[in-house]
Symmetry: C2
Subunit: 266 residues, 2 copies
């Protein structure tokens, strides 16, 4: 994922889009591999895209910078990276026109700022934006599918669900995930470390990670996350439960207490 | 900034550390140029570091992955990137020992998991962690200063304030920033775009960015941020005020209303 926007770099806006996309993909049994955040700047955007493309992801989602204002320059950055021009896309222009028409604003002129949102890199396809003006963009860059989405969370989410998730699901097949969070008290993370190492050795591919939550009334607090992803639901769930039982046993033997969160953190 | 941790990629943890560091630097008149987030994986960490170093930042802050558990592998990734070994650092080991002693845990053995937190890339210097166990790390990588900080927010913040901010301040000198947020109603972002473009032309170097906040009771809502950074306080403040006045005038002339937020968003 490439997130574009100075507001993310100056502590104006929390990157909840990366959080949401990561969560969504993880729950599908896939995974967000990397996030980069850059400023609204064509050179920075195209340089970041070159770097990401060199690592050959299957999918790349670019979020932010599709709007009508001068700082919205993501599509120009994508075009520069690909070495193609931006062109007025009739499909995108139709979507923008219908967006205003639906809101009873048919009389609104298609000013340059509005037409700007229909200027897509040559060879790309507009994606309908059911809740906002700027269409999303899909383009096939060799072995990598690239999607560009507006940064407004409600618009990003809507286009992601409608236009990206079906393609990701097709690529990964049906996967199951078991996620468990244990709340541990009275054990230090450094004391837990060898048990985690052993459990990871017994369960290769599993995810077991401790998150220290400070000391409360002199007692160390830890959240321990366990995740297993697999093709078969029962096997995946059983393995998750087995790891949780093993880890709980270790913690209790070393004098700590264990409580399972009814809603896991992942 | 390089943030390390699978929890940031699976929607388990919001990257509040990037938000905090970005905000802190912006308020000093500096700026976070780029954020990358990668998984707990030595290859991913070292590859990301190579990519970042190629863009020659003055400072690089690496956050997360300094703890005692097997997934904490940031310092090994840094060492691989630099082509140096990790070595037990006596200064770091002393800090870890004193941390346990201060908490009345002097009897706790320095197990391998605890000693691990003192294994630093050769040539680096430990930074005191006043609120947790794992020391921070500072190292001079040619023209770039690299800092590694634990991912636990309270620890990251404490080391950042004590050990990084003084060096950043020295590098940038005394800078002033004026940040203003205007709440606009009844104007579309696409109608505002030409006024922003003109204001940016009149005030090169200023930051003027609109954040759409949806439609409430049929009325478009926008937050407009204006920021100016400069060496002289009065000039910087005056320029910010001038831009705000110009933008408010434009919005009112086109039929919108303007309210200034007493606490700007930046």
């Amino acid at each position: 994922m490439l997130a574009v926007g100075k507001e993310l770099l100056i502590g104006r806006t929390l990157n909840t889009n990366a959080y949401w996309i990561g969560r969504r993909l993880a729950r599908m049994g896939s995974m967000l591999k990397e996030v980069t955040v850059v400023d609204d700047d064509i050179d920075e955007i195209s340089a970041a895209l070159r770097g990401i493309a060199a690592r050959s992801p299957e999918f790349l989602v670019v979020v932010g910078g599709l709007g009508p204002t001068p700082d919205d320059m993501t599509l120009k950055g994508v075009a520069r990276w690909l070495g193609v021009p931006v062109r007025r896309n009739p499909g995108a222009l139709g979507m923008i026109r219908r967006h205003y028409a639906k809101r009873g604003l048919a009389a609104m002129r298609l000013t340059p700022a509005r037409i700007k949102m229909s200027m897509l890199p040559a060879g790309s396809e507009p994606l309908p934006n059911p809740v906002g003006t700027a269409p999303g963009v899909r383009l096939d860059a060799g072995k990598m599918l690239v999607y560009c989405l507006p940064g407004v969370p409600v618009e990003m989410r809507s286009i992601f669900r409608n236009s990206i998730e079906p393609e990701v699901r097709k690529a990964i097949g049906k996967m199951h995930r078991k996620y468990i969070t244990l709340k541990l008290e009275g054990v230090f993370e450094s004391s837990l470390a060898p048990s985690i190492a052993q459990a990871l050795h017994r369960h290769p591919g599993a995810y077991i990670k401790s998150h220290p939550r400070g000391i409360r009334e002199g007692v160390s607090q830890i959240e321990l996350d366990i995740a297993v992803v697999g093709e078969e639901r029962k096997r995946t769930e059983d393995e998750g439960e087995r790891i949780a039982k093993e880890m709980a046993g270790e913690v209790e033997r070393s004098g700590g207490t264990v409580r399972r969160l009814s809603v896991p953190r992942g």
